[in-house]
């Protein structure tokens, strides 16, 4: 029964990564229900293409499908994607802005971090989610996001720099708002 063996392998290989799949989808589409639709669709596509899985890291493989499904979904439902390419060119150097301070980052609360992360462009957000929340290696990120491995670190550098600066700005505004007039 070739069908069954295939399905069993699929179970064991890809089902353990449903949380990782959902986490990425949830951060990309930023909506609970839409994320569920995306993950379900991604798994059905994965099932169809599982024959093309040639070993390697199954989590990176399923995340690549989740990511494609999510971006297709976003384009269909929310119009053109955020202008990531343009943005990357604008900030080719790692950073020319103000320096970062650990204290400001530590003071940021959960809601601030979430908001700052959601405001990042898709490319930046996904690389932080994959690395810092999901714990993928650079190689796995390169596979999942379909970029050369050399791009992973530079993109991560820009993404983290933006996130940290955004947190610092939020902390600054918060402080001014709380100061007595």
């Amino acid at each position: 029964m070739p069908d069954e063996t295939k399905a069993v392998d699929f179970d064991r290989t890809f089902l353990p990564h449903m949380d990782a799949a959902y986490n990425l989808a949830r951060w990309l589409v930023r909506d609970e229900h839409d994320a569920q639709d995306v993950v379900q669709e991604a798994y059905l596509r994965a099932l169809r293409f599982a024959g093309g899985f040639r070993g390697g890291d199954p989590r990176a493989w399923i995340l690549a499908i989740v990511r494609n499904t999510a971006f297709t979904w976003l384009k269909r439902n929310r119009g053109p994607a955020s202008p990531t390419e343009f943005d990357e060119q604008m900030h080719s150097a790692a950073g020319e802005e103000s320096g970062l301070e650990a204290d400001a980052v530590r003071k940021a609360d959960g809601a601030m971090i979430r908001a700052a992360l959601e405001e990042l462009t898709d490319d930046f957000r996904e690389v932080i989610v994959m690395r810092d929340i999901e714990g993928l290696s650079y190689k796995e990120i390169a596979d999942a996001a379909d970029v050369p491995i050399g791009t992973v670190m530079s993109r991560l550098a820009r993404a983290r720099g933006k996130l940290a600066r955004s947190l610092q700005e939020r902390i600054g505004k918060d402080r001014i708002a709380k100061e007595p007039a």
């Binding site: 029964m1 069908d3 069954e4 399905a7 069993v8 699929f10 179970d11 064991r12 089902l15 449903m18 949380d19 799949a21 959902y22 986490n23 949830r26 951060w27 994320a35 569920q36 993950v39 379900q40 798994y43 059905l44 099932l47 150097a93 790692a94 950073g95 320096g99 970062l100 301070e101 650990a102 400001a104 980052v105 530590r106 940021a108 959960g110 971090i113 979430r114 992360l117 932080i128 690395r131 810092d132 929340i133 999901e134 290696s137 650079y138 670190m153 530079s154 991560l156 550098a157 983290r160 720099g161 996130l163 940290a164 947190l167």
Partner: protein
């Protein structure tokens, strides 16, 4: 290293993704540059915050169930079949392991004089290849630390043996990290030491032989390779250090390892 370079590379450093040379260079830069040190501290703090489970969304149970049900054919077999199929892997592994173990034992019994040099040569090539690979940008240290009490426990659960880990910084050979590697088709401990600008890889795995200090020095592709058996460990050292210095290092391993 310029600040612009460091501000990208510090991310690889933070993530343990750099090769040894870049890793040490960026670390040196961070230590010396006040702007980069505060930037690095902020990035570390941010990474710590993001590790919080609060930022990781878990798939709802209903979704998981829906996906499970959507996968055909295996639905009914899964509940009890999962375990037994898992179990089926073990004999398969054993089927590989047994002939290999017998082969290894035979090699040890027959080997002493006749086959030993050939085996040695092949191992030496393998060890040098691992050494060269480790110096390229692709691989890295899995655990970068000069603290033997960090490096040694890191191997727990990754290997079925515990390699002796010592820092020889006092003697001019500081420990800089460790990683997992493969030699002779088995996972082995690789410890990374430094002497000046030279990197020394020490590969260790348990051996059935009990002889200590049966060392041999050879040159392979311009690298010096030294092998000795210490505390039940087969121990191979590779470096571009000259033979005398490598031998000094081997002596440290032999006496303190």
């Amino acid at each position: 290293m310029t600040c612009d370079d460091a501000r990208v590379l510090m991310h690889g450093h933070l993530d343990g993704e750099l090769d040894l040379v870049d890793d040490l260079e960026v670390q040196r830069h961070i230590e010396e540059c006040p702007r980069c040190v505060s930037e690095y501290a902020a990035l570390r703090a941010m990474r710590t915050r993001l590790k919080d489970d609060a930022f990781r969304f878990e798939a709802p149970a209903a979704l998981k169930e829906k996906i499970r049900r959507a996968i055909p054919a295996s639905t009914t077999a899964r509940a009890n079949g999962y375990q037994s199929r898992r179990g089926a892997w073990v004999p398969r592994a054993v089927r590989f392991a047994v002939p290999m173990a017998i082969g290894a034992m035979l090699a040890l019994i027959i080997a002493p004089r006749t086959i030993a040099p050939a085996l040695n040569q092949q191992l030496a090539s393998e060890v040098v290849a691992s050494h060269v690979r480790s110096l390229m940008a692709t691989h890295l240290m899995d655990v970068a630390s000069t603290d033997q009490h960090t490096v040694k426990p890191w191997f727990n659960g990754k290997l079925d043996f515990s390699p002796p880990v010592n820092d020889f910084a006092k003697d001019g050979f500081p420990l800089v990290g460790g990683r997992l590697d493969y030699i002779e088709g088995r996972p082995v401990a690789a410890l990374v030491y430094q002497h000046g600008k030279h990197v020394i890889n020490v590969f260790m795995w348990p051996t059935a032989g009990t002889a200590t200090g049966a060392e041999r020095i050879e040159t392979e592709h311009g690298y010096n390779v030294e092998q000795l058996t210490v505390a039940g460990m087969n121990c191979w050292m590779v470096s571009d250090l000259n033979q005398l210095e490598l031998d000094n290092f081997a002596n440290l391993i032999r006496t303190k390892g």
